[in-house]
Every structure is written in C-alpha cells, then in structure tokens.
C-alpha cells in the first residue's frame, strides 16, 4: 500500500434530508470523525493539484468497501452487510493510482448510528483544502399501502 501523504486538517459538513446544512467539523488528518449516518449521501472533497483547485463529488456509486482485516473489496450492495467492518475506498484520477481514500466505518444504515470518516491523499495531490461534505444517500420508506377504490 502507498505511503499516504499527510495533510494538516480538513472539514466535514453534514446536510439533513432537506439539504439544510446542519453541522460542520474539522479534524486532523488520520483521525476519525463521527457523524449520524442517516445524513450521508455524498462526500465532497476539495483539493489542490499543482496549483489548481478541484472539487470532487464522491457519490455512493463511487464507493467500494475495503475490509482491512481481509484486504478485500466489496460492492455497493455490501453496504448493508454487517460483516464489513470498514468503509469504502474511492480512487481519484489519474486512474490506476490510489490517491484518495474515504473510509466509512461500521456502515450500519440505522438512523442515529455513527460513521467515521478519514481522508488520505497521495501525490500529486499537494493539498487538501479542507472540504468534505456528506449528504443523505438512503431512501427510507415507512410504509406501503396496496388499496382498492
């Protein structure tokens, strides 16, 4: 595995299901941050490469599980599998190089449970500018009626 380049700080923001920003945190590189998983949809990352600023949306489809214990990758449908203890990895371009990982720890989707994010960057990403956001991903259906007239 690549040696991850360390950066000082980034911010994680959360929106509720009506897109209202509800919380904003900053944390140190390599540490974990906890947030209500019910708010998670996208992870936005803003970074700087050779002087140019990029904002990248890491959507749910872009994530893949990575189980550190088994060194095994899983697909999006594994999201609900409680056996997956660790989160997902997204590989930014240039393709084929592992440049960014967004870890999503203990992905039980139950409202009120917690997730943890961590972000690592590799060169040529020379600076993470401090913006990681999340937005709601999951559709929660409370009940379904089959009725007649």
């Amino acid at each position: 595995m690549a040696q991850w380049k360390k950066h000082n700080k980034w911010i994680i923001e959360y929106w509720n299901s009506t897109d209202e920003r509800v919380e904003c945190f900053s944390c140190e590189h390599g540490s974990w941050l906890e947030a209500p998983i019910s708010n998670v949809l996208y992870v936005y990352v803003q970074y700087k490469i050779r002087g140019k600023i990029y904002t990248h949306v890491v959507s749910g489809y872009d994530f893949y599980f990575f189980n550190e214990e088994t060194n095994h990758f899983g697909g999006s449908n594994d999201y609900f599998d409680p056996d997956w203890g660790y989160g997902r990895e997204y590989i930014l371009e240039p393709k084929g190089e592992s440049l960014l990982q967004v870890f999503w720890d203990k992905p039980t989707h139950i409202d009120g449970s917690l997730i943890k994010f961590g972000v690592w960057l590799d060169p040529p990403y020379d600076k993470l500018l401090g913006f990681v956001g999340t937005k709601r991903l999951i559709s929660d259906c409370r009940n379904i009626l089959l009725n007649g007239d």
């Binding site: 019910s38 999006s76 609900f80 999951i138 559709s139 409370r142 009940n143 379904i144 009626l145 089959l146």
Partner: protein
C-alpha cells in the same frame, strides 16, 4: 406486529374461488390474507391487513425497526419486492408513506398482476402511475431513485 383483520369485511369480489383455496392451502395458518394491505405501520391502519416489511419483502432493502417505527432503507437504484398478494379483482392503488413520512431520495413503484399467483409472478413489471386493474394477485416493486 403483523396481523390480519376484518377478513371478510369489504373484500372485493374474488373472481375465482380456486384462488381462495390456494391461499388457505399455502400455509397461512388458516388466515385468509386477501384484500387491501398496509406494510410497515400498525396504528390507525384502515386497510384490511396489517403486515410488516419483514414479512416477505425481498431484495436489497434493509428492514429495521418494528411496529409503527418499522422502515425499509434502500440505497440508490436498489430495489425491494413485496410478497405476491391476493387482492381479488379490484381497482388497485399503491401509496408510499401514507401513515408516516419517509426520508431521502424518492422511490419509484412498479407492479405486476395476474389471475393466479404463478401468473402474477411470471408477468412483467409495469411502472405504477395510478390506479390499475388487479386481476387477482399483485406484486409490488419499490426502487430508490438516484439523488
């Protein structure tokens, strides 16, 4: 809690008594499960049957909670499919979150219907756009939209 109530009250015409026999012999404990149904909510339900999502919904949904707090969570593009349910012949409607508010991206509904359970399950899906003619048995599919 899943219950069946008002078994004979207001049930639309069955259209085929053989189908009724099939339901009873399908191991439903003597309860004639037919007619209108609500999955996922208990309190104040006016449908003839009160069922849980945990009672037979399949697919990629994560079912959690119980009673009125039961819900089904779906990742974008993931889907869940209902049990094949006997309504009898009737004008049928499908509704999401009548008794409580869901959250997250909206969902899309499809249905299939057939005179027999087997015919229903073998039928193709039709996008739900409002009232439709149930020919006896109905199966529902819910798909989470991408945000």
């Amino acid at each position: 809690m899943a219950t069946t109530k008002n078994i004979n009250a207001g049930v639309p015409s069955l259209g085929n008594t053989g189908e009724t026999t099939l339901i009873i012999s399908a191991g439903l404990g003597g309860s004639l499960e037919q007619g209108t149904v609500c999955w996922g909510h208990d309190t104040g339900v006016t449908e003839q049957n009160v069922k849980d999502f945990a009672d037979g919904w399949t697919g990629y949904a994560a079912v959690a909670g119980s009673g009125d707090a039961e819900y089904m969570g779906l990742n974008p593009a993931n889907e869940a499919v209902s049990p094949t349910w006997f309504t009898g012949t009737m004008k049928a409607t499908i509704e999401i979150d009548h008794y409580g508010s869901g959250s997250g991206p909206a969902e899309t509904l499809h249905y299939k219907t057939g005179v027999t359970k087997e015919a229903c399950e073998a039928a193709g899906w039709t996008a739900y756009s409002g009232q439709f003619n149930s020919t006896g048995w109905v199966k529902i599919r819910i798909t989470a939209n991408s945000p």
